[in-house]
Each structure stands twice: as C-alpha cells, then as structure tokens.
C-alpha cells in the first residue's frame, strides 16, 4: 500500500524496482494510491471510519488497476467522489522529538501523517530523541499524542538518521545520494547490508546514530 516509491530528489529505489520488474528476490503484492488517497485513508483510520471520501482519481489509470478505489455519489449535489478503505495498519513506527515519563509524545515540524498513523494503528512504537521529566513549555495547540494512545516509547538518540529530527540534527542528504550507488546492484547492496546490518546488532546503529546526532550539536 503506497503512493510513491522513490529516493526523494535522487531517483529510483533500485531494490524496489528490481522486485517489481524482475520479481527479485520475490514478487511484491502492491496496492497503489495517490498521496491524497493515502492521506485521506490515514485520516479516516484515525477517525475510526471504515472509508474515506475525497475528490480524486478523476480520469487517470490508477483507479483501473486498483480495485479498492470506488465511487460514491453525494446525495445532495449528485457529484461523484472517490471512496477508498480507511488505512488501519497493524503497527505504526514513528520517530519524534521527545516524550515525557508518562509517555506523552510531542511532535514538531513536518508532521506528515505520523499522528494519524499512530491513531489509526492497532499497535504503535514511538522512538524519540529524548525522554524528559516534563514536556517543555509549548504552544497551547502543540501536537501531542497522549500516553494512552501510544503503545511503546523508546529513547533512541539520532534514531531518525539518515533523515533528520527537527531541532536536533539535519537530514544527511549525502547518504541519500550514496544510497543510490549502494543499492543500484544486487551485489553492492548485499555487501553493504552484510557489513552494516546483517552481521551487527541494533547497538551498532544506536552508536552510529548517536554519534551523528552529537556531531550536529
């Protein structure tokens, strides 16, 4: 279930292409949407609705290749609108700036669908840059996920790397560009994965990510 699969500003996700074009390492089952549809599907999921209506998918081919895209008629105006199922993931994993000890999570910056993803999901894991005693002085309308809506909170400093955490460290755009070369061929991807992931535990990432965050301070 996706609406865009690329390396932003760089190009293709080569491993995704290899899977779709060549079925390697195996075939993928895909449900393709537009961003507007995904945003509405998460919103409806957070709102406890079974489906979302919006003005979209007019004239294009996506509705022809995705049987989940249907039409509903507004009973007041007669306008035909798109209707799609609400998105209710089993698990949402997001990264945020901070949580307090009770588990209230505060998010600031580019919000995306992070709040909706947590609210729409059956289970959720939130990694944060830091766990604090009390949330800092904040806007009266700050974006906060109250503790009883969050499954698990884990402190992982630098946990967004190679992306960024607003107010902590910037996006490592260099790595996104390097990833293009690493992931282009199966061999180079395998070698990188073996060296950096498969033969190491999560502590290796934790150490590495923390170092990158520190460097930005």
């Amino acid at each position: 279930v996706f609406s865009w699969g690329g390396n932003p500003g760089v190009g293709s996700l080569h491993r995704l292409r290899d899977a779709i074009e060549n079925g390697w390492p195996q075939k993928l089952e895909l449900e393709e949407h537009s961003h507007a549809a995904m945003a509405n599907a998460y919103e409806a999921g957070a709102a406890g609705l079974p489906c979302a209506i919006f003005r979209g998918y007019i004239g294009g081919d996506l509705a022809k290749v995705n049987s989940k895209i249907k039409r509903v008629t507004c009973p007041f105006t007669g306008e035909e609108l798109a209707v799609i199922p609400a998105h209710r993931p089993d698990v949402a994993v997001i990264h945020a700036q901070r949580a307090d000890k009770a588990g209230n999570v505060m998010i600031e910056g580019v919000l995306g669908v992070q709040k909706e993803a947590v609210l729409a999901s059956k289970h959720s894991v939130v990694t944060v840059e830091e766990i604090v005693d009390e949330l800092p002085e904040r806007s009266l309308n700050a974006v906060v996920l109250p503790h009883w809506t969050v499954g698990h909170v884990v402190e992982v400093p630098g946990g967004a790397w190679p992306s960024y955490a607003q107010g902590y460290y910037p996006r490592n755009n260099g790595f996104y560009k390097e990833w293009d070369a690493i992931s282009r061929e199966r061999d180079s991807f395998h070698a990188w994965m073996k060296e950096n992931v498969l033969s190491k535990g999560p502590e290796a990432f934790a150490k590495y990510a923390r170092k990158h965050r520190m460097a930005a301070e």
Binding site: G9, S34, G59, L111, V113, K115
Partner: protein
C-alpha cells in the same frame, strides 16, 4: 549575453511564468528551482507550498526531499499532510500546480508510474505521489520537462495524472472545473494549449533552437502557433541568482554520510 545551458533556459522560462501574488504547489527538482528563482527575482511575495505541509515557505537552499527541515523552518506554518490535501489542495486554495513526469503526450497527460505494462513493467517509476489530485485541484498546471523521444510520446504507457485528456472539452466532461495544463515549459520551447483542440502548441522557441529540433525530440507531429515568438534569453541577474541558489544547495547537500 551570458552563456547558459538549455536547462537553465527552461528553469528561467518557468520562473517567469509565475506572478508575485501566485499561490503555488511546488514539486521537488525543476519546479522547486523555478519557483524559488521567481521568489528571489520578480516575485518576492509568491506563496510556495510543498506537499509535506509547509505553507508560504522561503527556503534559502533547495530541498532535496519534500520534507526537508529547511522548508519547515522558513515557513509561515506547517500543517499535517491530511490537512494539506483536504483543506489546501482539495479546498481549491492553490492557484498554480507544478508538475513534471517521465512521459507526456500531446494533451499534456502525464505518466510517472510505469514504462511498459502495469503488471510487468519494463521500468517501474516512483509513482503518482500527489500528481493525480494536483492535476485536477489546482487552478491551473504548469509542466516543466526536458524534451526527448522517450519522454514526449505519442501514447502514454499509463495515465498517472490527466491534462486535457483527449482534447477539446473532454476534461470538462469528466466534471473537472479547473483549467489543467496552461503552460508546458521545455528545454527547447514554451507550449500552451490550443484554445479549441487543447493540443499543446509551441508559442515561443528558446534562442538558438530550431523547429526541427523540437520535432525531432517529440513522438508526435508538433503544432506551432500562427505566430511563434523567440523566448527572451536569461538575463544576467536571472542566471546569477539561479546559479547561486544551485551552488548554495550543492554545498549544503554535499556533506559526507
């Protein structure tokens, strides 16, 4: 006259199409460069919106991704993505949407999904992203794309987002009330839709480019307007601002992983 590349001419021509009071939905890459060039030259008050939720942003460097922190820090405010697509895009609050694509046809329909059949594609492209609804919800659409036989095609492999559909009033017949693609800016020329047929038609050719070049780099017989102008070349200032923007951006993105 300064020396410049076709790509720079394309960005400058696109920037000129924007006005100071425009509200623009900006895509990453060429559109982002054009919109920010406009903001840094003749349109200082232009409102730029990125689909990540940043309203009225004024980035000092071009973002690599739609969600770069730079966009958020320099914005009037940042809203959630569901709000962006519901209140802002679908709400009809965006005047100009900027799109690009891997393939375009004569009616400015776009393909950013697949080359080849959908189920067994030769090339799987990243996909539609915001394009399907940007194409129908923005007041009008500007398209910026470099020309070539593989991208300017007679028939799209997949219609990701509609332009003028099959021409004439076929777009309006789908119930779409917005104008659709009003400008197509390439590295060779500026196209606008014919008022009747809606086929994209060359209105202005960039300096030094021939009609033959435009035709050679297209997969259908290109229409030229009765009067075809020559695009004014980039001014010294336009080139300076654009090159400074790109070099600031490259410096910022070059940090090692």
């Amino acid at each position: 006259m300064a020396d410049y590349k076709p790509n720079e001419m394309m960005t400058v021509a696109a920037a000129r199409a924007l006005k100071n009071d425009d509200v623009c939905f900006v895509g990453i890459g060429q559109p982002s460069a054009a919109c920010n060039l406009a903001r840094l030259t003749h349109a200082p008050n232009i409102t730029l919106i990125y689909e990540s939720g940043t309203l009225a942003t004024k980035p000092n460097i071009l973002p690599l991704s739609i969600g770069d922190g730079e966009l958020c820090e320099t914005a009037l405010t940042t809203v959630s993505v569901p709000e962006m697509f519901r209140y802002w895009l679908q709400g009809g609050r965006i005047k100009v949407g900027f799109l690009g694509g891997a393939q375009i046809d004569r009616f400015a329909n776009l393909n950013t999904t697949v080359v080849g059949p959908y189920d067994k594609p030769k090339v799987r492209l990243p996909g539609g992203g915001g394009a399907p609804e940007i194409a129908t919800s923005c007041g009008e659409i500007f398209i910026i794309m470099a020309q070539g036989k593989r991208s300017f095609v007679d028939k799209l492999d997949f219609v990701t987002s509609i332009g003028h559909v099959s021409g004439g009033d076929s777009r309006a017949k789908l119930g779409v009330k917005t104008k659709g693609p009003t400008k197509l800016i390439t590295d060779l020329a500026l196209f606008e839709p014919d008022p009747q047929t809606k086929e994209m038609t060359v209105l202005s050719i960039h300096p030094g480019v021939t009609r033959e070049q435009i035709q050679e780099n297209s997969g259908w017989p290109i229409k030229f307007a009765a009067k075809v102008a020559e695009t004014p070349p980039p001014t010294q200032r336009e080139l300076e601002v654009l090159r400074e923007l790109h070099s600031r951006t490259n410096r910022a993105h070059a940090e090692a992983a």
